[in-house]
């Protein structure tokens, strides 16, 4: 008994240390973003700034075109993630509900592209987009990431677990494949669609290296690149404004995460642990 009490205490200490490790840095960003400029450079630091100020955000907006960054990120993320989800859905449906010669070979062929690291595609994709005259355009930003292989894989696995009878019943009804897909199969795949959709949104929003090379004017940058730009214009020490910029980049995905973390976890661990 006593042994187990001691053990509990130690476990809670470990839990507190773990919580602090991840929460304190995040708290530090958010509190610094609303700190008065003089408080930023105070030592020892002011952990509970009061009153809260928003002037850091104004300064970030003045130093860099954050309106453009925000609009670009919203456009690239919404269109890119929609295309990804559409591609994943259509392909998964085709592979599970339609016949085609050698379709399993075709499936493996598509899956094999997961082995291609983006470091290897970087140079050639840049050349391809340049040849299409799409450098510094939304088309160039979005198109190369609009395919979805991982999402296709997750959705296919999910669709294969749906009861076969539904398929048959709809066939008897003579439902066309598009009606079948949208009215029968997709409503049943909702949880997995959320998973694939959310992962696509996070990927598009956070993407860094591709937007960095494919855009070349400040106005076309997305938020993560904009943050890099802000830091270089604000120098290394105007941390209030830079932390405000960091909040703008991080907060939308943090909020999305808080609502959908189970969906994200399920999708991302799917490859890891097979039941």
């Amino acid at each position: 008994m006593r042994d187990s009490t001691l053990r509990k205490i130690l476990l809670y200490i470990a839990l507190a240390v773990a919580a602090a490790t991840f929460i304190v840095p995040l708290y530090w960003v958010f509190s610094s973003a609303v700190k008065d400029n003089s408080a930023i450079y105070q030592f020892p630091p002011d952990w509970f700034p009061w009153p809260l100020v928003v002037e850091n955000f104004g300064e970030a907006w003045r130093a860099a075109p954050f309106n453009n960054f925000l609009v670009n990120s919203l456009i690239v993320t919404s269109i890119g993630a929609s295309l990804k989800l559409m591609n994943a859905t259509f392909t998964a449906y085709a592979f599970t509900h339609l016949r085609f010669p050698l379709k399993n070979v075709l499936f493996l062929f598509m899956l094999g592209s997961l082995m291609v690291p983006n470091n290897v595609t970087l140079i050639v994709n840049y050349i391809t987009i340049a040849n299409l005259n799409w450098i510094n355009t939304y088309m160039g930003l979005i198109l190369p990431s609009s395919g979805s292989i991982f999402g296709m894989f997750l959705l296919r696995q999910y669709m294969m677990t749906l009861p076969k009878e539904i398929n048959e019943a709809a066939k008897v009804d003579g439902a066309g494949h598009f009606r079948m897909l949208f009215q029968v199969v997709l409503p049943m795949c909702k949880p997995m669609l959320v998973t694939v959709g959310v992962i696509a949104v996070v990927d598009m929003w956070n993407d860094f290296i591709w937007p960095l090379i494919v855009t070349n004017t400040v106005e076309m940058r997305t938020l993560p690149i904009g943050l890099l730009y802000l830091r270089s214009t604000e120098g290394y020490t105007n941390w209030g404004a830079i932390m405000a910029g960091t909040v703008i980049v991080a907060l939308p995905m943090l909020i999305l995460f808080l609502f959908t973390q189970r969906h994200i976890a399920r999708g991302l661990t799917a490859g890891a642990v097979k039941g």
Binding site: F100, M115, N206, P224, I225, I242, G275
Partner: protein
């Protein structure tokens, strides 16, 4: 009753229509895969044997010259070493901390859900934002680093501008961002373990530590191997951390293979050199993945 020939013709027509719908549905996705995944592999291999500045003219065939240049340059040796150090420490750190976190969260403790959420959250934050946050923490004058070092009566190192400290800074930031995900993977693994072994061992009088070391750990080994490979692959994508925190420097102290590819091609306008380095990177990843496959096929611990 329709005659058999009519019926067969009907089936063939139906088949043809079904093939048509199939092709229509997969066409956009397969076009993307061919254009932006497979074609680059081939063309990149060709580019790696050419000299080209990517701007004007066209690639000039130089054979294996780019590869010879790479492997005879001491700078490239340093880059390979950096890649190994960065990847190695991140992999070891991820496995140790991730597993410890998972075991901790797997205990029946109050508020463990909060810790799981907090640990996993940095994984979905943009790497650029995480890097900026850590840049502030590592600021020797105004960052938290100064506070922590002052507890020990020391002054903070100049993390990102000191070649001895820049790599540790990157590794810490990467671990902070990625370890929560590793913990989630381990947690799924732990919760999928059969409980009979545990119970049997406990009845035999085995202690917690023995059970963990002799039963849990071996049962988790496929997960561990998976974690090691995906973490290693993940370190090859850490452009955002490197771009924001160190820019590959000071000097080339934090230039990894993937950053080297970017620098050669897009900063030094040396498409051939960049492409050759990308091929080297590709083969390293292929070898790692093959290793994982071979291992998980030989040693699957699940029933």
């Amino acid at each position: 009753m329709p005659d058999p020939i009519e019926r067969r013709r009907g089936r063939r027509r139906r088949n043809r229509r079904e093939y048509g719908v199939f092709a229509l549905l997969i066409l956009p996705n397969i076009a993307m895969v061919l254009t932006f995944e497979y074609w680059p592999v081939l063309y990149n291999a060709y580019l790696s044997m050419t000299r080209w500045n990517m701007i004007s003219g066209s690639p000039v065939w130089v054979g294996l010259k780019n590869y010879i240049n790479l492997f005879t340059s001491s700078q490239f040796h340093q880059v390979l070493l950096n890649t190994l150090v960065f990847g190695g420490f991140v992999v070891i750190g991820s496995v140790l901390i991730g597993l410890a976190l998972a075991v901790l969260i797997n205990q029946k403790l109050h508020l463990r859900g909060i810790v799981r959420t907090a640990a996993f959250a940095p994984y979905v934050i943009s790497g650029a934002a995480v890097a900026t946050l850590w840049l502030f923490i590592f600021d020797p004058n105004y960052g938290l680093s100064r506070v922590v070092f002052s507890w020990f009566g020391a002054s903070s190192p100049h993390w990102t501008t000191d070649s001895a400290w820049a790599m540790p800074a990157l590794i810490i930031a990467y671990l902070w961002k990625g370890t929560g995900f590793v913990a989630i993977v381990y947690l799924a693994g732990l919760q999928g373990l059969p409980e009979e072994y545990d119970e049997a061992a406990r009845i035999d009088g085995a202690g917690r530590w023995t059970i963990f070391r002799r039963i849990t750990l071996p049962l988790l080994s496929p997960v561990t191997f998976f974690v090691m490979v995906i973490t290693m692959i993940g370190t090859f994508q850490a452009y955002d951390l490197i771009a924001v925190m160190t820019n590959g420097g000071p000097g080339i102290a934090t230039t990894t293979l993937s950053w080297f590819v970017y620098e050669r091609a897009f900063k030094a306008s040396d498409a051939g050199g960049g492409a050759a380095a990308a091929v080297v990177l590709f083969f390293i990843l292929l070898a790692l993945t093959a290793l994982q496959n071979a291992y998980s096929q030989r040693k699957v611990h699940y029933q």
